[in-house]
């Protein structure tokens, strides 16, 4: 795969022919890019600017440049400097939201991908009824969130079916998941995995259909058993898919909002407060658009770091 980081730099003056070529390329991009630039990029750039001002909405005359003040505020910089990093992650809204979001992402992404891959592997063999299973597992992704989350919250109630199941397995647990600081985040994780598993399963399933047969044949000739086949052939062949899936998933996990809003509203306490929950509160309860934008920039920075690491590993494998 070609990498955008590996392109030759255009230093010399462009020839007429090259200029024409570039023009053609721009014409391809233009229809989408104009819409994208006007309706997404421009507002996004504006929100970067907003992170350096105080603004409560209304006319732009109300804008007040404050520099890095918003960032200092969300990190409670002076307090943290005084009391240490522990304070940031136990007392400050941003630190708590950050901790929750990162924890949620680190658990949800691998769990979803492993489940998705396992399902795909299973369905790759059980050919009969595969279309039916595929559809069933994809179904959660199609359903609208309100109905589904209300339902899950109910399932995870104090004496609900899930707790009864746990009881049957010899794990007594007698609280509503969403009303318990430790379990609440797991209820979000569970619903997220359930919802996204099918989506990524289909991606993996399709990727598996495309793994060349001769690779397995060669492995069998080398005397590889099933497990070795999986680790030596299947897994490496799935790497590009895993790259695409995990990139998209990390981004969407960092932006988790709707499940939390319906299931726990960020609670109990701040135990499921996520970065976007925090942004939402600041923007729409407190009308601090500057602060909300500053939090978003923190989120953007983290996701960019993750994504660039991802892209660089893609590089390494792609050019092997």
């Amino acid at each position: 795969m070609e990498q955008f980081s590996k392109l030759p730099k255009y230093r010399r003056k462009l020839s007429r022919h090259e200029r024409k070529k570039a023009l053609v390329a721009y014409s391809f991009i233009a229809p989408n890019f104009i819409g994208f630039a006007v309706f997404t990029l421009l507002p996004v750039l504006f929100s970067i600017f907003l992170s350096f001002v105080k603004w409560k909405g209304g006319s732009f005359d109300n804008l007040q440049w404050v520099g890095l003040q918003n960032y200092a505020d969300i990190f409670k910089a002076s307090k943290v400097a005084e009391k240490g990093l522990g304070y940031l992650f136990t007392k400050v809204d941003l630190g708590i939201a950050l901790k929750n979001t990162v924890f949620y992402t680190l658990v949800t992404v691998p769990l979803t991908l492993v489940c998705a891959m396992a399902l795909a592997l299973a369905l790759n063999h059980a050919v009969k009824g595969a279309v039916g299973f595929r559809t069933v597992f994809f179904f959660p992704y199609v359903a609208s969130m309100v109905a589904i989350c209300v339902c899950w919250r109910f399932m995870m109630m104090k004496d609900g079916p899930i707790n009864q199941l746990l009881m049957g397995l010899g794990i007594p647990y007698n609280k509503s998941w969403t009303a318990d600081s430790t379990m609440a985040i797991w209820s979000i994780i569970l619903v997220s995995v359930w919802r996204n598993m099918g989506y990524y399963m289909v991606i993996y399933l399709a990727a598996l259909q495309g793994v060349p047969v001769d690779l397995y044949e060669a492995a069998i000739v080398d005397g590889a058993n099933k497990r070795q086949q999986f680790f030596r052939v299947t897994l490496p062949q799935l790497r590009p898919t895993t790259f695409f899936a995990s990139t998209m998933m990390i981004i969407s996990c960092f932006k988790i909002y709707d499940v939390v809003a319906i299931m726990t509203e960020g609670g109990p306490g701040r135990s499921t407060k996520m970065l976007v929950t925090y942004i939402y509160d600041e923007a729409f309860s407190n009308f601090n658009y500057g602060i909300a934008s500053a939090i978003a920039m923190v989120l953007l920075a983290i996701v960019l770091i993750f994504t660039l690491i991802q892209f660089s590993t893609e590089d390494r494998y792609a050019n092997k």
């Binding site: 721009y26 179904f139 359903a143 209300v150």
Partner: protein
């Protein structure tokens, strides 16, 4: 594309052990499928109950009496038909525009050389990471200035140019060997010709993928329509759904009934396109 797109299993053996393994597999799969479907079963059953029965304890899986009239009520209590029509209009327009423009743009990102390509692409990917809530207000002000407030087109232009489509299509086009384009160029095809005659036919599958993803996400979008669409004649299903959640009461049985109805069109789209969809993803994930 070098790989055979579909192949039989490599090792075909029918030993008792493999039969047993298969049986176990089926049992596990069926169990999992049932677990996956439980919330839907609950949803369906709740949609046939009276409001006060929905959250009764212990869970009653079958309604005491089946209240089919809930499915009649939802159409008369709110203008649901209008909501469905609006949602369909938006979802279809977005799907069409998104599919066309992003496959067009993705071709340039994947196969053409031009100045600023990397920077532009990074712009696209980076915006995916910014939560909509933070740029919603500037976007709203812009839309309003353009006269798009309380107009279905607001959602159409909002959703049509998402970075996701370009990202997905670019990944796919990169899997198509560049030699194909080169030889077409030698044959005298213009870049537009290559896109139309070579790329598009080869990317039917990816397009189907994009159609499903776009259609589903637009159909289920809530925040966008909530902010931009105000009058009843413009509301979508997901926004209309909230009319059953009021300040002093909520009709969960009707919410569930609407949700069940809302599932149908998306399921039809998925089922109709899933044969393309499977192949589409396969090639997206593979290197060229």
């Amino acid at each position: 594309m070098k790989q055979s797109s579909y192949q039989s299993r490599v090792v075909v053996r029918t030993t008792p052990a493999s039969v047993a393994l298969k049986a176990v597999l089926y049992v596990v799969l069926i169990a999992l499928a049932l677990v996956t479907l439980i919330p839907f079963a609950w949803m369906l059953s709740a949609s046939l109950k009276l409001d006060r029965e929905v959250f009764t304890y212990p869970i009653r899986w079958l309604p005491e009496t089946v209240h089919w009239e809930n499915y009649r009520l939802i159409w008369s209590k709110v203008p649901l038909l209008t909501y469905f029509k609006n949602t369909a209009v938006i979802a279809i327009l977005v799907t069409v525009i998104q599919t066309l423009t992003s496959s067009f743009a993705a071709y340039a990102f994947a196969k053409l050389q031009f100045k600023g390509r990397n920077a532009l692409f990074i712009c696209y990917v980076a915006t995916i990471a910014v939560p909509w809530q933070t740029y919603m207000l500037p976007q709203f002000i812009l839309m309003r200035a353009m006269g798009l407030y309380d107009n279905l087109w607001a959602i159409v232009v909002l959703q049509s140019f998402s970075a996701f489509g370009v990202f997905l299509m670019r990944q796919f086009y990169q899997g198509i060997p560049t030699e194909l384009c080169e030889s077409a160029r030698i044959d005298g095809l213009s870049e537009y010709g290559i896109w139309a005659r070579i790329m598009l036919p080869l990317s039917k599958a990816a397009i189907a993928t994009l159609i499903i993803f776009t259609f589903v996400s637009t159909w289920n979008d809530y925040m966008g329509p909530m902010i931009y669409l105000t009058r009843d004649i413009n509301k979508t299903v997901q926004v209309g759904l909230r009319r059953f959640i009021q300040e002093n009461s909520s009709d969960y049985h009707l919410i569930m009934a609407v949700s069940v109805c809302s599932l149908l069109p998306v399921s039809v789209v998925f089922l109709a396109l899933q044969k393309y969809f499977i192949q589409g993803i396969a090639t997206t994930g593979l290197k060229g």
